[in-house]
Amino acid sequence: MGYPHPSHPKETVVLSQYFGDAGARTYDGWVERGGYAALRKALGMTREALIEEVKASGLRGRGGAGFPTGLKWSFMPKEVVRPHYLVCNADESEPGTFKDREIMRWTPHALIEGCAVAAYAIGAERCYIYIRGEFTEPWRIMSAAVEEAYARGGLGGNALGSGKRVDIVLHRGAGAYICGEETAMMNSLEGKRGNPRIKPPFPAVSGVFGMPTTINNVETLAAVPHIINRGAAWYKSLCLGNPKSTGTKLISICGHIQRPGNYEVTMGTPLKEILYDMAGGPRPGRTIKAVIPGGSSVPIMTRDEAEAALFDYEGIVEKGSMLGSAGLIVMDDTTDMVYQIWRLARFYAHESCAQCTQCREGTAWTTKVLERILAGKGKQADFQLLLDLSENMTGKTICVLSDSCAAPVVSGIQKFRSEFEAYMAGSREPAMAAV
């Protein structure tokens, strides 16, 4: 199917097969489409066998970090002496990313099924799905689906008649980008301010409520039932040459592009095909200037870098950026790069939880220096100042929010320096008044 566009022939449609198909939203509709067979099968397997299957598939975390999912699950204690928890990260807030939203809107039972399989695999009887507060529509659809899954016996004390307990609780966020960071999410779930925690201890040792916890992204969990149904070998075979990146990936494309939306591709697909064949390329008469490939937190790519990249974890790194959440932000030749880098810095300054000095001060001062440049008051020395601030924001804080602020600034100065210089030299009209 595909939403908002019909699936393109170059897509590999697995998770997005029923996007746009409202009939898939109900329990019966999901069962008719093959749903809950994976959960039934999983509940009949041992925990160890399930973890091995997911390990063998090569599935890696789809939230941004790309950590191997089966390996993450295997960190959970073998014996369940204290309650184990699964937390599903549905706090999708990374600018440029809107794929988890479509999974929840169109295939809520795919997520429920994935959560139930994963919960069982890690020895948890309860899964919390943390949905960002702004996602009012996914919340309504997920609430109805969870209620129906309980009513139909898919969840609860005797899930699918297996004698095993699987509970799912939906938890609503309240507006904080940082709560998408896994340790901040655990604090938020506990009823605290969403400040990230220092690791170690890692969540598998002491996570939410101090108990062993695994946190997985929506897309990761939604992929699990397909692996259980069709086997690890099948999933691993979805790969165009690089065995470290397997399976399919949902890509969100937005910005200056003809057909924005979600696309699902086999790992390793050339980025050029995604941009031009699937998403239709730039607007008529325009050319692409820059692409941010992994949500706003990764280095900006030039058009040449983007067009030469293979779209998987390693392929994007090879061209100087990161796959991240696979939210592609496309900017054409009308874009004022300095203004947009400022807008990104402002985002991170607004979303900083402010517990680490480098982040609290660094994101705010980066924003102010960029405002000075945009006001036509910038100096050559501001380049070094911005790079020094970025250096202090990289690898020195509890979480990576400030690293994410530094990524577009550093790559922007490297790749689009002349645009900054035009403001400094006065050859470009100031974009804002001096503060």
């Binding site: 702004e134 937005c254 947009q340």
Partner: protein, 175 residues
């Protein structure tokens, strides 16, 4: 710990006594959540949502009430309330409009949508409430619908692909 002796809420310039939120059906809804979490504190975000749903915003007396119900201190609850941007700590218009202006929407014209909304609602500036008390408009960071610029939230209605031209028609549905 107890609430203030005479808790009052300033609303529209008039001081009105705080009516407890957690009574009857609302209290029952909160209590139904307790078994889903190992601590009462974990019900804080849901409880704050219930207050905002009932009262439109979260006042100091409401913070005291939540603290008492969940066995927390008012200072603790206030610390949490102020961390999350979706909780209102002052009264807002009958309809609360959140416009995404983060980069992907920004390059697709979100700033013009903001201007159109400020003009059509009569709010004049971001964060202000229109003189008729009908609307408050704020700018928010990424709403997670970047492929459908510009997304806005009016109360709990998520609306995609808003343009300056579509603004006046949209607002008619919100009396």
């Amino acid at each position: 710990m107890s609430s203030q002796a005479n808790p009052t809420v300033t609303h529209g310039g008039h001081d009105v006594p705080h009516q407890p939120v957690f009574v009857g059906e609302t209290l029952a809804r909160l209590e139904a959540l307790y078994p889903k979490y190992p601590t009462k504190m974990a019900c804080l975000l849901p409880a704050l949502w219930m207050v905002q749903e009932a009262r439109g915003w979260i006042s100091e007396p409401a913070i005291n009430e939540v603290a008492e119900v969940l066995e927390l201190t008012p200072a603790y609850v206030k610390g949490v309330v102020t961390f999350y941007t979706m909780y209102h700590t002052h009264p807002v218009g009958r309809h609360f409009i959140q416009v995404c202006t983060t980069s992907p929407c920004n390059i697709c014209g979100a700033e013009d949508v903001v201007k159109a909304l400020l003009q059509a609602t009569g709010c004049g500036e971001l964060g202000a409430t229109s003189p008729d008390g009908r609307f408050t408009v704020i700018e928010v960071e990424c709403l997670g619908a970047c492929g459908f610029p510009t997304p806005i939230l009016i109360d709990d209605d998520f609306i995609e692909s808003v343009t300056p031209a579509s603004v006046p028609g949209l607002l008619q549905r919100y009396a």
